[in-house]
Symmetry: C3
Subunit: 258 residues, 3 copies
């Protein structure tokens, strides 16, 4: 038998005792759980960043992994906590839209609200449901508990507005939706097929970014556009940070002309 994988994605920041407590709760309930840190550096309470992160990473995991997501600015309010099966991926997370982007490609098969306190810690802090509800629920799931025992099914998940690119045969208009740790600016414009069309790319309507296939086709410091590793149009500075050089971030408009 293979020990179950439980992954952790939080906005706790480096070295938080909250991360450590979460891990303790899980291995205390299921000593066979294999913990894998996905990130504890989602920017604090940045649900959108978390949504992009999950959409980029979760699809690579096997079906039997359980993913715990604690980016929960609404803790202590009426926002719901969920166990969701998105295609073959199972996540426990607050119902704040953080699953929206992942759900675009992996639609919801089943979602339940976590209401059954039998699978929670005996005492629940009003400010830390990650430790007291999400972590123990994930541990119980890894021990074989049926999601339908956790609470009632729900089908009206919170959706974040996902900015859609405008696409026609001559042009595409989109915006930056994610800035990675290198300062690369990833847009919502699909990159599939772009390479063969020799596109002209502009940041903010006017700053040209030369289309390349890889970083190394350009000189150090040059602003380029290329297909990101998630196959979206990305603006980058070779051996540098595009976000810093342009002084811009999420929401910056990106235009493509053919």
């Amino acid at each position: 038998m293979i020990d179950p994988v439980i992954t952790l994605t939080t906005d706790f920041g480096a070295g938080s005792p909250y991360e450590a407590a979460l891990k303790g709760v899980i291995v205390a309930l299921n000593p066979r759980a294999r913990l894998i840190d996905l990130s504890h550096a989602i920017p604090a309470q940045d649900v959108w960043h978390g949504a992009f992160f999950l959409a980029s990473a979760i699809p690579y995991f096997p079906a039997d992994a359980i993913h715990v997501v604690v980016v929960d600015p609404g803790v202590g309010t009426e926002r719901r906590l969920l166990c969701c099966d998105l295609g073959r991926h199972r996540l426990v997370a607050p119902d704040n839209g953080i699953l929206s982007l992942l759900a675009q490609e992996h639609p919801v098969d089943q979602a339940v609200q976590l209401t059954n306190p039998r699978y929670w810690l005996p005492v629940v802090s009003p400010t830390f449901h990650g430790r007291d509800i999400l972590a123990p629920v994930a541990a119980h799931l890894s021990l074989g508990v049926d999601p339908l025992d956790l609470g009632p099914p729900v089908d009206d998940l919170v959706q974040l507005p996902v900015p859609q690119p405008q696409v026609n045969e001559k042009a595409m208009e989109g915006e930056v939706i994610f800035v990675d740790s290198f300062g690369n600016m990833v847009s919502n414009i699909p990159a599939r097929g772009l390479a063969t069309k020799l596109p002209q790319v502009f940041v903010n309507g006017q700053i040209p970014a030369r289309w390349v296939r890889t970083y190394r086709e350009a000189k150090r410091g040059e602003l380029v556009a290329l297909a990101s590793s998630t196959n979206l149009l990305e603006i980058a500075v070779v051996m540098g940070s595009a976000a810093e050089q342009l002084g811009r971030g999420r929401g910056t408009s990106i235009s493509v002309r053919f």
Copy 2:
């Protein structure tokens, strides 16, 4: 049989080769060890921060975990290295007071000084006992070595002075003892029962912080007081950093009036 859990708490900072070497030493001696990172971001040589961190996190772990703690400003001096059983929790750590807070709730059942070089690396660097003594000792413990084989029992552990709150029926006076990665300021004032008393809370004797049950009962930017997830009175700024907004940190006085 379940593979043993060994957790790591250090002040090495992100990406240190010291963290990596520690992990190598452990899995080389016990390839079945499951390593769990608690933190490598304890502020450098900040024994007090480490003490609060351990008291917040270790109680959630199961009894058979082994916890390696390397915050060791006294490395190379006569300070002792210990294996301590605090209630059901087993830690290997320098004897510098870093276990003081945890030991308040989980008294020392047994402590031994690590003097038997049979369980160390063959060569011990004068500047890195974490890698050369603590890590191999933890690995040997996970293989079933009896702590009493590691060295002689000791019963005079170093204690950090733990600031105690002044409490009477009309008021409580305490201080901030921990600032978390969100900038929340956790005090040494117990929060149990406070909610029903509608307390008035002041930072530094004069700045009022409104008592709330959860962050979301207040407006963005408002200074509030609430029960922390470890059930201590905490000062927070909703969607912000209290420590930054107040320009204050550990030692800031906190007063409660009824």
Copy 3:
């Protein structure tokens, strides 16, 4: 049977979705793999830093671990990807010199170029070979694939120029080759035997650093020289950062007189 260890060393930065995707790829192919994070904080594209990191950490690992290294500024160019056995240590990494320092002490037993797409992801992004080639290759190796199935042997690995110290009976001249997270400056001057010679140490030819055996032999703030935990001459400031106090880093000259 013991589950295989796969370690990860990257320059992705804290909280990158690239780290998470890498982990997903590995556990999807080999659900028994034990992932161990060595570092995701190698400075971006800093091959030399990565080389020192690996030389400091890998030797502590057992022989059957597999080490994935993704510091890959040349991704998408003709630079090769390799599986190398350096003594008993097996690494998958770009052929950019990042193995140079480790290979000085652990010579190459076998190296193959990764050319067989059977062991890659079905689609390979031009910008992320770590996820699409190195990670799946490591997973397949952990399942027992023979390195010789991965591609043809190579014997002309890229070598970084490794600065060598000048040593004679009266003096040694070297330079700082690594600055750790505490600001300690590690040089390329071997420290073995230095302690008995009462050496005089100078930074940049003129700033004296007193030789000590451990940090605690000096006062807070004093500039000292001592043997690093990797047994190289190290410049440190007690309870402070030498790199910050001196305003200097890699390449700074270090002189020793007897």
